[in-house]
Subunit: 152 residues, 5 copies
Amino acid sequence: MKVGIADTTFARYDMASDAIDELKKRVSVDIARYTVPGIKDLPVASKKLIEEEDVDIVMAFGMPGPEDIDKRCADQASNGIINAQLMTNTHIVEVFVHEDEAEEKNLPEVAEGRARSHARNVIKLIKSPKKLIKDAGKGKREGYPDLGSIRR
Amino acid sequence: MKVGIADTTFARYDMASDAIDELKKRVSVDIARYTVPGIKDLPVASKKLIEEEDVDIVMAFGMPGPEDIDKRCADQASNGIINAQLMTNTHIVEVFVHEDEAEEKNLPEVAEGRARSHARNVIKLIKSPKKLIKDAGKGKREGYPDLGSIRR
Amino acid sequence: MKVGIADTTFARYDMASDAIDELKKRVSVDIARYTVPGIKDLPVASKKLIEEEDVDIVMAFGMPGPEDIDKRCADQASNGIINAQLMTNTHIVEVFVHEDEAEEKNLPEVAEGRARSHARNVIKLIKSPKKLIKDAGKGKREGYPDLGSIRR
Amino acid sequence: MKVGIADTTFARYDMASDAIDELKKRVSVDIARYTVPGIKDLPVASKKLIEEEDVDIVMAFGMPGPEDIDKRCADQASNGIINAQLMTNTHIVEVFVHEDEAEEKNLPEVAEGRARSHARNVIKLIKSPKKLIKDAGKGKREGYPDLGSIRR
Amino acid sequence: MKVGIADTTFARYDMASDAIDELKKRVSVDIARYTVPGIKDLPVASKKLIEEEDVDIVMAFGMPGPEDIDKRCADQASNGIINAQLMTNTHIVEVFVHEDEAEEKNLPEVAEGRARSHARNVIKLIKSPKKLIKDAGKGKREGYPDLGSIRR
């Protein structure tokens, strides 16, 4: 199993290292890491990891700032990441933490939780996709407590 | 007839099971199910079902949360789903229920209704597309009562 | 001349029948009609009409509801319709009537007018594109009175 | 030099004729003109001019109305025009004048100025692209007075 | 190392010259410069630099104006730039300075800082991509002081 890791120097927390740690603790894995300046550089970095480094899946980490322009950049990056997946038939798991989604002092915990949680998702997607079916509709959240299913 | 089912662990209701039940009650059908973490993973999952599992059509189930970021994610997923259809000339019927489109206690009923209703649409699209023509312009709704045509 | 007609069961008025009537009154034409559930199913339906039914042009009819979510769906459909045209070098004339663009009692008249007007546009685009040049910049409107050119 | 001209019957001023006049006054040029109903028909018309009429460059003229829906249509057209350029490696110079960007009585002057100014840009892009370099960062505007560079 | 430089006559500051100066001070580099009228012309210009001038990477400079329409144009350009990267597997580093992101008198300093900073990023991306990994998550900013990592 080979995992591509794309992340940015713009982000204010190093989620990729948490994710790599989580992956290595759980499975035998090769890592190809590609750090780029900003969130809009992630789509092509992810696609290059897939097509030039032959990874099985990519995790793309970004931390959009709190301004409207940051949100718009994140949306553009997300669209690019979806397009890159469609062009390659390969998953790129987007792991974005918005600077304003929690108080600054709590952001590292959210970011680490999300990074590790998505690392576990990545392992399931590649190693045992059928395991995800039993969690379908279960209100899973990454970086926060699961919300669970809505009861009738 | 082989139907691809793509859904998420993020959703808080398992619409896919209702849809599979509805399909199996009505036609002889093979199912390929692919559960992914979130709504933005649905486009590539749907495309992989089409190109790697050779399904005739896909149903893509998602349940966006109530926040603005959730709406934006849903829009990005929708754009990706449309692109995936154009790349494959294959229908991917999007079945999204927004958490805030009804009171929480009523969501399961809306979600089940929409899932079953779109399962019936899927059967028509593959088995008898001409049957849909007689409902053109009839104000059909999935998960709610039909609105009907506007009268002069 | 073969015209593809893509429309929806979601719409609350059957514009396609008006357009087909207008086309048949004016030219010898074959029609391939493809009715789908919703507006977001129109892009792939249009592309399939072009590539699988070998039509010369497509008319895509939709009637977005009055809510914000309906507007967003219509925008996604429009983007998909533009992409489908670019992928096929074939016109797909979008004929959308928004439920809130007129009082409900007046919608059928707007919808019929727009459908018939665009049917005439379709004939010109295929049979005599040069005729459109003399109307360039003339403030033509479909479903409403023409606004005409702005005078100096 | 062959220039494609794509414009609409929706527009309320015939910018294309001004641009063609400006082109012909300055260079020996062949024109292929393609008038379509609305702004969303411009992307495929432009692409067809490039691929079926073998033009060197396209000018795409549109005049979006003042309503929100008109703005959204213009944005969709712009995205399509950018995609068409990427698919063909050919410039499509977008010349849009918004009906609400000036008082109605002043719109023809803005529109003519923008059309002629972009016609001159088109000549430079094809005949002498290096000439544009010396105007880089100079705050050029089409249809309005140039703003010039910002001084330190 | 060959760097493509795409910029505009619309911009009110010549960032490209600063970037070229920074590149030449630091590495042996060939430059291919392509100036276009506006920000929406940048995607195809960048793609042509990659495919026709055989550059290793592109820097795309734009300076969107303060109006809503300018922001929307910038967003469309950004989407096109991301698509061009995905189509070519080549980085196009977007260097946009918004006219309203600082007081006019301070804009040249921001613009020069951002241009030079991204020129250094470009060198790293091509010459020593591994060096960027040690800055991952460090809150780097271009044109402003770095924000640094968020501490637990």
